[in-house]
């Protein structure tokens, strides 16, 4: 850091010491002669703010940078260049539009260019409007605010929360009862509800740090990596198939396992990011570091006949830029794909400069390479295994080619064509013979970078200026010695401690999972159009806690879940709602409907069916009949009958064009673009699934059998056991009475005892409280 500062200072000094006299003459000329011409004729469209065609004529830096079509002034060829052609009206481009400058005005510009564009010092560098926005300033350490009820605060978080509440004359809510708290923190940290034993252990643990011990146990559980890994897989748009038309299975579950493992090991977040964005470019990358680069390979890929592969590769790269913006920077970079960002200081040129970093993975970009679709892969196996796999893969390709050829000849019902049918059967049979070679999609850089252009209007066939990789001007500079910075430099820039956004955006997303909304409500937009943080100082404190705590995510989790703010009850507070209807001040916790996968996982735990294995290929639990044949190519769904039938929801095979309804209907993202926040809808289709689906009935039967087996043959005791298992609490008297009425009605219908308790369990697995973390 110090050396860079020195170099910069030296440069600035050099500029001032070498040029004084000449510079003064030049700037005088600029002020007297040039500036009036520019002001009257050019800068209305070509200012730092308007940036028509990406060009600003307001600063020396921006003039030399040029516009979307390329350079406009070349100092080494002062009589040439687009600017002069345009004002002379000698080329296609004639400026100003509809009229021509006077000859003496043109002469002034020519002279100015030949002088080397002298301008006063304050116009040397580009000034980006909006650069003073809060989110572009580095996080600062703030003193803990004074509060009246200091005893309430359990850690620094609480001082920030309480100070705002006291200003609003609100009291925080009391701590949730211990059972609710245990269920909440277990679901939030591991995605699994507590077992009956865990509940009684906690209720009986009278030590003052009993809760903190629970938190440590949960953070050490391998299920923590599954829970928070799934959150990360949302932002990574992870799926098991290619998307688009063909939507065939792809090899990338190793990446999912890498995420779970890295989070369990608490790999520091800066490394976690670097390895995913550019693990392949690290010196002598390990297998894990290569697997991690699956992150940016999770974009959908198209294999349809007749396509232009380059078009879909470009789409994928553009998505990587937009995802980088949303996930790390909290910036809507995608807005700058077709034009300069309308609100934030992000130019279209800068979009394509970041594009240039991510543009050089050795992916298929032409029809001739169709057979290498989805390359590059990492293959993990012996040479013999790799050879066997290659031979098998060639056969797949050959059969597919034959199918495509035949499909083109047959229109209408393809199933009726015997030849096509035979070919498809052959393909399915051959697919089942896949040799045991583990492989996974990764990033691998081309030996020579692709040329990156600005795509005029966002259209990749309309090539504008050539751009080199570079970062956003409004943020921290790229620190590298390389003349050709690459993806690794970019990754390091993202997690550079001077980057004002990455740490803030990351802790904000964590907070959002724990409270249902972030400190910044617009979790993927920290720009000028986003919401302001409700607690800016707390956001900074958490970001600094992440960075200074060695980028440990577990440290931030521990801090949040042990705070008094987190432990509050979630009961509605009419008094607080009158002042703060959206609960932005966090005067209570929020009740949150469980995520799609967690609803399944909870039922698996409660019914005792869960297969707790971590990782491995994705699995096929039962799926409602007909749910996966809406796509062009019918896919097999080999429903698991063994232990894989009861794996956690995050292992369910995710078919992009026909995902498992149990996931989609409960708002799991569709994995086409990054998802930084799930919606929580509440619909009749959800009711149909949790009431009637085959899986739901299996869970109810298992829970019913468990209640009968584990509790004495006494209705009250069995009801109590059901409540403890499903909701981690004792039933209230009115609840016992109501379910008892139902149980008696079932007996009156001559149902046998197991059926009665299955029916009662079905009720328990459908009530709002079971589907909700309170």
């Amino acid at each position: 850091l110090f050396t860079i500062y020195v170099v910069r200072t030296a440069l600035i000094l050099a500029l001032f010491t070498v040029l004084p006299a000449a510079a003064q003459d030049g700037t005088a000329f600029f002020e007297q002669s040039v500036r009036p011409v520019l002001r009257a004729n050019c800068v209305a469209c070509h200012s730092e703010k308007t940036l028509t065609s990406g060009l600003s004529l307001e600063t020396r830096e921006s003039i030399l940078r040029g516009g979307n079509r390329g350079a406009v002034v070349q100092l080494d060829k002062p009589t040439d260049g687009v600017l002069l052609q345009a004002i002379h009206h000698t080329g296609d481009l004639k400026m100003p539009p509809g009229r021509k400058l006077k000859d003496e005005q043109i002469g002034v510009i020519e002279k100015w260019i030949s002088m080397g564009l002298p301008m006063p010092a304050e116009l040397a560098k580009s000034k980006r409007p909006g650069a003073d926005h809060w989110a572009y300033q580095p996080p600062k350490k703030h003193a803990l605010p004074d509060v009246r009820d200091a005893a309430w605060a359990k850690n620094p978080i609480d001082r920030f929360i309480l100070a705002r509440l006291e200003t609003a004359k609100l009291k925080p809510s009391p701590e949730a009862d211990r059972a609710t708290l245990l269920r909440r923190v277990s679901l939030d940290v591991t995605g699994l509800p507590p077992t009956a034993a865990e509940l009684s252990d906690f209720l009986n643990d009278k030590r003052p740090d009993a809760y903190e011990r629970v938190v440590d146990r949960l953070l050490a559980s391998p299920h923590y990596g599954e829970r928070w890994g799934r959150h990360w897989l949302d932002v990574a748009r992870y799926a098991d198939t290619d998307g688009y038309t063909i939507d065939a299975p792809r090899d990338i579950w190793k990446y999912r396992d890498w995420v779970i493992d890295a989070i369990n090991k608490d790999v520091p977040f800066d490394r976690f990011v670097t390895e995913q964005v550019a693990g392949d470019l690290l010196p002598n990358p390990t297998i894990d570091q290569l697997v991690a680069t699956g992150f940016h390979r999770n974009t959908p890929s198209n294999y349809e006949g007749g396509i232009d592969f380059e078009q879909y590769r470009v789409e994928a790269v553009a998505d990587r830029v937009a995802t980088t913006g949303a996930v790390f920077l909290g910036l809507t970079l995608g807005c700058a794909r077709c034009h300069d960002h309308k609100f934030d200081p992000i130019s279209q040129r800068e979009f394509y400069q970041i594009f240039a970093f991510l543009n050089n993975i050795d992916e298929v970009d032409k029809e001739a390479d169709r057979k290498y679709f989805n390359k590059p892969f990492l293959e993990i196996g012996t040479d013999e295994e790799k050879a066997a796999f290659a031979a098998w893969e060639k056969e797949v390709y050959d059969i597919e080619a034959a199918i495509r050829k035949r499909e083109d000849m047959v229109t209408g019902d393809g199933d009726a064509d015997p030849e096509l049918k035979e070919l498809r059967n052959k393909l399915n049979a051959h697919r089942r013979k896949r040799p045991a070679l583990l492989r996974t999609m990764i990033a691998r850089e081309l030996p020579e970078s692709r040329v990156a252009y600005i795509h005029l209007g966002g259209d990749f066939t309309r090539k504008g200026a050539v751009v080199k990789p570079a970062v956003l001007g409004v943020l921290n500079p790229l620190e590298t010695n390389s003349p050709n910075p690459n993806r690794l430099d970019f990754a390091r820039w993202l997690v550079d401690k001077r980057n004002p956004l990455t740490a803030r955006v990351t802790v904000n997303r964590m907070w959002q999972k724990y409270f249902g909304r972030g400190i910044v409500d617009t979790e993927s937009d920290f720009g000028t159009q986003g919401e302001k943080p409700s607690h800016p100082e707390l956001l900074d404190a958490l970001a600094i806690h992440l960075m200074e705590g060695g980028w440990s995510q577990k440290a931030v989790h521990r801090l949040i879940v042990t705070s008094a703010a987190y432990r509050q009850a979630s009961l509605l507070r009419p008094d607080a709602a009158a002042v703060d209807p959206d609960n932005r001040l966090f005067a209570r916790q929020n009740r949150l409907r469980l995520d799609a996968e967690i609803i399944r996982d909870s039922a698996l735990v409660v019914s005792g069916l869960l297969t707790p294995a971590i990782g491995g290929p994705s699995v096929y639990p039962p799926i409602p009949a007909g749910a996966n044949n809406v796509t062009q190519v019918k896919r097999e769904w080999p429903t698991a009958t063994g232990p894989d039938r009861y794996r956690r929801g995050l292992y369910t095979f995710f078919q992009r064009s026909a995902a498992h309804p149990g996931l989609l209907v409960f708002d799991a993202p569709d994995a086409t673009v990054t998802c930084t926040r799930r919606v929580r809808s509440n619909t009749p289709l959800q009711a149909l699934i949790s009431m009637n689906d085959e899986a739901a009935i299996e869970f109810a039967e298992a829970l019913g059998a468990r209640i009968v087996k584990e509790a004495p043959a006494d209705d009250a005791q069995r009801i109590r056991h059901g409540w403890l298992l499903a909701l981690s609490r004792e039933p209230r008297a009115d609840e016992t009475e109501r379910i008892l009425r139902f149980i008696r009605a079932r007996r009156d219908s001559k149902e046998d005892e197991p059926a009665v308790w299955t029916a009662a369990s079905r009720v328990l697995l459908n009530i709002d409280e079971f589907l909700t973390r309170q």
Partner: protein, 473 residues
């Protein structure tokens, strides 16, 4: 439900008012609102709607306009001649490889065309029944789209983007104005033909809108909606008792926590129960008269495009807002003889019957029927197998038609050059079709927006103009 104190009521109202900008907690209530009528907080139109329902007949694969509606006598004269370079320059086509080997030859249609009705609409021999409703429909020629591959082009037609992830047109509509049906989803998808449409569920996805606006695929046989039947061993009595018990226990929890989301869940479970009753009745076509079944060519219990057309009418009768039928497969690269005749026959009679049936029941005036694919087919022939000729994908000029409220019937809008390569005058784009569809529903396509990742998204992106000559006013 228990009585609420005024503070609770205020809280609930407030939560409802927040719905459209908060995609986090609380969105469920508006979701339900979209599915239930008479709700006090149903969304409003921007101006008086001309129609209340849409039936979108999506012809998947890209029907050949030159064999169906766009009559080009001039192209006959050019038959088998090489395509002039001026038509190919700067154009990109699917399957570039088959075209790059030699200059493709123009192909005049082998189909007879004749004029129908008072309007004298040109329709080919492949769609004689559609010809009989010529005076009820308006044909749009020279529609252009942006992508020449099936999946992306289908996405574009439905969502305004070639990439998956944006809300479909049916989702935008139900998000905008909700539904009238108390016991059916507002946006229903039906499918027929040998395979599902390319891109699958992304075509009726709600994208970044809440999932409650997603199209719900109905099967025309068996359970119309996934998990609609009671599970094995559960009869109607048990189902009702179960629901009542769940509702009571939920009310008890509501009295403790006060979370309005619990009330929404009680309503959602009730509506699910109503769907269980109405769903099987809906798809049971056996109650339809013999004449009606014959008019459509539908057979009860047998899934088909004909059955789906009839189902579409039944859905609209029950207040469903947006019904979309997909029929595969119109992708005739190889052969414009029997394969094309077959699919045209499957579609012809039921489509005409649907329009006639809606009209005789007084529903056509409040419904838009729209017929079209993701693109059309080239004026050049494509030879993939000796002795046969088909047509490649063409994105610059294809034909669709519409019928119903607000549409000037017996009308032809737009036109193509003599060989059918491009629009003859003003370009009509997919965004224009979308804008016009929303307009008929009382929605201004520039105002129907949703903020996502910092941007106000709309179906028509930054484009879309009304196709005014299509409209009665």
């Amino acid at each position: 439900m228990m009585a609420m104190n005024p503070d609770d009521r205020l809280l609930q109202q407030r939560t409802r008012r927040q719905l459209f900008r908060d995609c986090g907690v609380g969105v469920g209530k508006v979701a339900l609102a979209s599915l239930m009528s008479g709700s006090a907080f149903a969304a409003k139109t921007h101006f008086a709607p001309r129609i209340d329902h849409v039936i979108y007949l999506f012809m998947a694969g890209g029907p050949s306009q030159l064999e169906l509606f766009d009559y080009k006598p001039e192209l006959q004269k050019w038959d088998a001649k090489p395509t002039p370079d001026t038509f190919l320059k700067g154009k990109r086509f699917a399957f570039m490889d088959t075209f790059s080997k030699e200059t493709p030859k123009l192909l005049g249609t082998r189909r007879e065309f004749k004029q129908y009705g008072q309007s004298g609409l040109w329709v080919s021999e492949l769609l004689p029944n559609v010809g009989t409703v010529a005076d009820d429909i308006a044909v749009v020629h020279g529609v252009s789209t942006e992508n020449f591959n099936h999946g992306p082009a289908k996405l574009f037609t439905n969502t305004g983007s070639v990439r998956p992830g944006r809300p479909s047109i049916g989702s935008w509509v139900t998000y905008g104005i909700g539904s009238e049906s108390k016991d059916l989803p507002g946006f229903v998808v039906l499918q027929s033909g040998p395979r599902g449409p390319r891109s699958g569920a992304a075509l009726w996805s709600s994208g970044f809108l809440p999932t409650s606006y997603q199209g719900v695929p109905f099967r025309s046989a068996g359970d119309p909606i996934l998990d609609l039947s009671n599970p094995r061993g559960v009869d109607v009595t048990e189902q009702r008792q179960t629901l009542d018990t769940i509702a009571d226990l939920n009310r008890m929890q509501f009295s403790v926590s006060g979370d309005p989301e619990i009330s929404t869940r009680i309503d959602a479970y009730e509506m699910a129960y109503r769907m269980q009753t109405s769903g099987p009745e809906l798809i049971d076509l056996s109650k339809e008269s013999k004449e009606t079944l014959e008019m459509y060519g539908a057979e009860p219990g047998k899934g088909s495009y004909a059955g789906n057309c009839l189902l579409a009418r039944r859905l609209v009768e029950r207040g469903v807002r947006f019904v979309q039928l997909y029929h595969t497969d119109w992708d005739h690269h190889q052969d414009l003889t029997k394969p094309l005749e077959d699919v045209a026959r499957e579609v012809d009679k039921p489509t005409a019957a649907l329009i006639r049936d809606l009209k005789q029941r007084g529903l056509l005036d409040r419904t838009l029927v729209i017929w079209g694919g993701e693109f059309g087919r080239t004026p050049m022939g494509e030879v993939r197998e000796k002795g046969k000729v088909g047509r490649n994908h063409h994105i610059d000029a294809y034909s669709i038609f519409m019928a119903g409220g607000g549409i000037k019937p017996g009308n032809v809008v737009g036109g193509t050059d003599e060989l059918g390569f491009s629009a003859a005058s003003d370009k009509i784009e997919v965004f224009d079709v979308q804008a016009t569809l929303l307009h008929l529903l009382g929605l201004d396509h520039t105002k129907l927006t949703y903020r996502f990742q910092g941007r106000d998204f709309r179906l028509t992106d930054v484009s879309g103009r009304l196709i005014k000559p299509l409209l009665t006013s």
